[in-house]
């Protein structure tokens, strides 16, 4: 069976991120490369965070999704360089995140000084849009998110950390 790279990318773009199912693993920039040689498919992925437990899940999802498309010879490789950055998240995916109640990362991930910088950022509440928000904790329900609170609508929300 002959399959093009584009078709594979298309299949992969339908695999949801296990932690934030409204966006796909390609939206997040976790799939770095696809190679097709004869009937063998090699997909290179990179972790968002070193210990992200979702990685095991989506690697298995890649194999099982491609299997349903008749592709049985699939290798999923992990690559570490260049290191994943939130800059690879598409604008469309950021908008989906916001609608899902997660404040998306700021546009450019910049070098941050060691102390207190994260809490000084201006993050808009994904629920009401207010900028009267405050940083509660650098760590949230998954490695990629921080906890924030909106002082206007009094709702807690998560912010996708930028790295």
């Amino acid at each position: 069976m002959v399959v093009s790279k584009e078709e594979i990318w298309n299949y992969l773009s339908q695999i949801p991120d296990p932690d934030i199912p409204v966006i796909s693993i390609t939206d997040l920039g976790l799939v770095r490369d696809v190679e097709v040689s004869n009937s063998k498919v090699t997909v290179s992925v990179t972790p968002s965070y070193s210990g992200c437990p979702a990685m095991q899940l989506f690697k298995a999802d890649i194999v099982s999704t491609l299997k349903t498309k008749g592709l049985n010879d699939v290798e999923v490789k992990t690559v570490y360089s260049p290191s994943w950055t939130t800059d690879w998240i598409s604008d469309e995916a950021k908008e989906k995140m916001r609608k899902h109640g997660i404040a998306p990362p700021e546009k450019v991930s910049s070098e941050k000084s060691a102390l207190f910088s994260e809490s000084k950022k201006e993050i808009h509440c994904p629920w009401c849009g207010s900028k009267e928000t405050q940083h509660t904790s650098q760590f949230g329900s998954t490695p990629c998110k921080a906890l924030w609170f909106c002082n206007s609508c009094h709702q807690p929300f998560e912010y996708f950390k930028c790295i």
Partner: protein, 255 residues
């Protein structure tokens, strides 16, 4: 007279990097459901996950270098204390929250400079892994620095506890900068630089944070060393009992 070749030295060095992460990650995981507040419970287990992830990729590289078809899990679960090359500070018990945050500050500051240096290593894989780990260690350092400053300037109780933590942990810090046979071989092969050279940068960074925290480095005492050569404090064996129990009791068991 060392008989270690470059590949063996690099293997040992990867074990050292992996072991630091695995043991510190295990210590942080002990806080799961025991954190002083929910946010910090989540924070410490998040830090732990990063360390486990970093340990895994260091061990994967070690396994490849060794070429005996072992996995990262085999390396993590099937060695005894003397085969672990983590720094002594990573195996120290958590103590109270101030003690853990002080331990994190002292270690993360070291790890930040270490990964910065290694990300310029001539060994491509090592430099890639270090660059990956550096991104995470930076926010680990931010977290512990903020807490040490907050505790040092908090109540009398929190200040005393933070100072006591520093008084106890300080004597394990020189161990992180020990240069052993592994280092010497890798320096000769121009894969790493002399890492004892990181000490002045580490010291001034730590001093800066401790000054903001109003805490004082203790003046006299004995520096404990030996982790990189597999000479550990009594705590490591107890950690391994818990960490390795399942694989020792049920060899090959899979998740």
């Amino acid at each position: 007279m060392s008989t270690m070749n470059t590949k063996e030295a690099l293997y040992n060095f990867c074990l050292r990097l992996g072991d630091n992460n695995l043991i510190l990650g295990q210590r942080l995981a002990e806080w799961c459901s025991n954190g002083p507040i929910l946010e910090e419970d989540l924070a410490m287990t998040n830090l732990s996950l990063d360390h486990f992830g970093q340990a895994e990729f260091m061990y994967e590289y070690a396994a490849e270098l060794e070429g005996k078809n072992r996995t990262a899990d085999d390396i993590a679960y099937l060695r005894n204390e003397r085969g672990y090359f983590n720094s002594l500070i990573t195996e120290q018990p958590n103590g109270d929250f101030a003690f853990t945050m002080m331990k994190q500050l002292l270690y993360s500051t070291f790890a930040k400079y270490l990964y910065e240096t290694l990300s310029a290593s001539s060994d491509k894989r090592l430099s890639e892994l270090a660059a990956r780990a550096l991104k995470e260690i930076k926010y680990h350092l931010r977290h512990s620095s903020e807490w040490v400053i907050r505790l040092g300037n908090g109540t009398e109780e929190s200040r005393i506890r933070a100072q006591q933590a520093l008084n106890e942990l300080w004597w394990y810090t020189a161990d992180m900068f020990v240069v052993n046979e592994t280092d010497k071989e890798l320096i000769k092969a121009q894969i790493i630089t002399d890492l004892s050279g990181l000490y002045p940068k580490w010291k001034s960074s730590v001093e800066e944070t401790l000054k903001l925290a109003n805490l004082t480095i203790p003046a006299h005492g004995h520096m404990y060393k030996g982790g990189y050569d597999g000479n550990h404090t009594e705590h490591l064996g107890h950690i391994l009992c818990e960490l390795q129990y399942l694989q020792r009791a049920y060899p090959g068991a899979k998740w």
